[in-house]
């Protein structure tokens, strides 16, 4: 089996097809897509007009305007993703329970991993559709200049990984809570804590670190607390505003996270905020998926003592024997 065939098999999951078909037939799908693109487009256009109207003399070039419009739209897109992802994923498993279709899935040949994977991909697929559909808007702004391709690519990558991580955490909460309402509230709480809470808490701690360094007579440090450093908004801001980045040593990040005293550590490699954000998000995805699988497995009552091996399908002895 080739690598491509293996990859394609990953997506040959009945839940992906079923949820995808079901979602795209709903009136909500085109509505959400329209709303998403309208908000993003109108916001970008408003920023563009504001820049022209408010600073008519400052027309140093389209590059500057393009850069600012792109940045505004990138932040708006990240916010919209954080807003839509919980709604799309938080009901994935709890709604199956509410519909009382979950037991029937558990009695099928689908493994717990397949169920969680299928639900995650089905939830993320629509988010990816939104992000893909918005690419022409970003491409139009990209033509103004002011943003290089690397910044453009990292922006989109960061948006996608943020969408996947919020969806994965929401999926875990969906497996943990019996009701979609509860899981949705919890998912929004988690998304807010991850996107805004870490920014505020990390910012306050960074200020605290600065004050402590000053109090101890040490040299002022511009180090950012890891909570803020790994925040997707902060990472995006650095990508779009600091051409040279703002890397920190891994050792320093660990030192600050654990409140270890001493001079700033220079151990470990230098890491950019966007890389840290993506790594943290990948870790969140892994932990959430494993936890969700455990919850689904627990629901099944029997934890298999051996790995689930595919059982070959046996053709009926006679054609049409079902009838």
């Amino acid at each position: 089996m080739t690598v491509i065939e293996r990859l394609l098999r990953l997506f040959d999951n009945p839940l992906i097809v079923k949820d995808g078909v079901s979602r795209m037939r709903s009136w909500r799908a085109p509505l959400v897509l329209t709303l998403y693109l309208s908000v993003l487009g109108l916001f970008g256009y408003s920023v563009f007009v504001a820049l022209i109207v408010l600073s008519p003399s400052d027309r140093s070039g389209s590059a500057q305007i393009g850069g600012q419009v792109f940045e505004s739209m990138a932040f708006m897109q990240l916010s919209l993703v954080a807003l839509f992802a919980p709604a799309l994923a938080a009901g994935a498993i709890s709604s199956e329970r509410e519909r009382q279709t979950f037991d029937v899935l558990l009695v099928s040949r689908l493994s717990a991993v397949s169920i969680v994977w299928g639900k995650l991909v089905a939830s993320v697929a629509f988010m990816l559709l939104l992000i893909l559909a918005a690419l022409p808007l970003f491409a139009a702004v990209f033509l103004f200049g002011g943003i290089d391709f690397e910044q453009f690519a990292i922006t989109q990558l960061l948006t996608v990984t943020t969408a996947v991580s919020i969806a994965a955490v929401s999926l875990f909460l969906s497996a943990a809570f019996g009701r979609t309402l509860s899981s949705t509230v919890a998912a929004y709480g988690a998304a807010f804590a991850g996107m805004v809470g870490t920014l505020i808490a990390g910012g306050l701690m960074s200020v605290g670190l600065l004050g402590r360094a000053a109090g101890q007579g040490a040299a002022a440090t511009t180090d950012v607390h890891p909570l803020e450093f790994a925040n997707p908004f902060y990472a995006l801001w650095i990508v779009l505003n600091s051409p040279n980045g703002a890397p920190m040593h891994l050792g320093r990040l660990v030192q600050m996270m654990a409140f270890l005293p001493g001079s700033p550590s220079s151990l470990g490699p230098l890491i950019e905020p966007w890389v840290t954000a993506i790594l943290v998000e990948a870790l969140l995805v892994a932990v959430s998926v494993v936890a969700a699988v455990q919850l689904v497995q627990h629901r099944r009552a029997y934890v298999p003592a051996r790995p689930v091996e595919p059982i070959p399908y046996v053709e009926p002895a006679e054609a049409g024997s079902q009838s």
């Binding site: 079901s22 519909r99 009382q100 279709t101 099928s108 298999p304 059982i311």
Partner: protein, 323 residues
């Protein structure tokens, strides 16, 4: 085909099942009868690999449910007591989805779906969305869903609940047809007349304990000592009824004769030729208005058995396992 021995299940301090034993031979329809909360659904969920017993064993096709649930899932088709639908899927898509979940190869899924729709008499509704079907149709579709992988054993939890009389009859005929196809069927219900006409084996459960189980005629004879016939006479009075009783009492095969409001109720042995009794009465000049077997034997058997059954200790509360 199904063997249950010494099954125990507790939910916290509440005893749901206690020493449940029964056997269902291959090719039989086993009526699992008991009031709401008696433990029917808990037993079926254990057999369906959705719950773990605290003690005891359950095997299907010789495979212990607790030891090899994957193999058991290949053998069973499970229909829960509530039919959950997926919005915006057609009937054929619904069956194709579950066929995929059970590992039916892609090329066979549609054909299997259409064969099953024909079996449950829904061929004309193949392209209709599931949520637009009537309740009876949904129940039949749910039964078709349980058959997508051609299982040998069907576990049907209250398949006729909430159906109108016509839909009940259709469901009953469908279950009979499945028996003719060689399936072993365990069907639970608390509506006794519907099972009386359908089942070949029967098991009574009350307060988590089996009070009787076995072939229908054995259980009935065990409790009611024979079949019963009801004879209604024209203008009944005591003299006529006593004369009629004297005529038939003591005949070979007649067990007891009781006077009832408008006639007689006669308990006879299983092999008794009913028409001989009718001829005897007519020859003796008894004006017979009607002559028919008493229906509702199963109800009476159940009432007698459950009234004799020891009540659970006060500390052990019966539980409603599922809504």
């Amino acid at each position: 085909m199904i063997e249950v021995e010494g099954l125990h299940k507790r939910f916290g301090s509440q005893v749901a099942l206690e020493e449940v034993d029964f056997v269902v031979p291959a090719g039989e329809i086993f009526g699992f009868i008991g009031p709401n909360g008696a433990g029917k659904t808990t037993t079926i969920r254990i057999l369906a690999t959705l719950a773990m017993p605290d003690a005891g064993t359950a095997t299907i096709g010789g495979i212990p449910v607790a030891e090899d649930p994957h193999a058991v899932r290949e053998l069973i088709g499970y229909m829960p007591d509530f039919f959950g639908v997926y919005d915006r899927l057609t009937s054929i898509e619904y069956l194709e989805f579950y066929a995929a979940c059970h590992g039916v190869p892609h090329r066979r899924r549609r054909a299997v779906g259409y064969e099953l729709l024909e079996l449950v008499d829904l061929s004309g509704r193949a392209e209709d969305q599931v949520d637009t079907l009537s309740r009876g149709m949904k129940q039949r579709l749910c039964l078709a869903r349980a058959l997508v992988h051609d299982p040998q054993v069907l576990l049907l939890d209250e398949p006729a609940s909430g159906l109108d009389p016509r839909a009940r009859i259709e469901m009953r005929e469908l279950i009979r047809e499945l028996r003719r196809m060689g399936k072993t069927i365990l069907v639970s219900s608390h509506i006794l007349p519907e099972l009386e006409e359908l089942c070949t084996w029967v098991g009574f459960i009350d307060a988590g304990r089996m009070v009787a189980a076995g072939p229908m005629s054995d259980v009935r004879n065990q409790v009611l000592t024979g079949r019963r016939l009801r004879v209604e006479v024209v203008d009944p009075d005591e003299v006529k009824l006593l004369a009629a009783r004297d005529q038939i009492e003591g005949r070979p095969g007649v067990i007891t004769v009781e006077l009832v409001e408008d006639g007689l109720e006669v308990a006879v042995e299983e092999a008794f030729q009913d028409q001989d009794l009718l001829m005897e009465l007519v020859r003796a000049g008894v004006a017979v208005r009607s002559f028919a077997p008493v229906t509702g034997d199963l109800s009476e058997a159940f009432m007698r058995l459950t009234s004799q059954a020891p009540h659970p200790p006060a500390s052990r509360e019966r539980v409603e396992t599922l809504p």
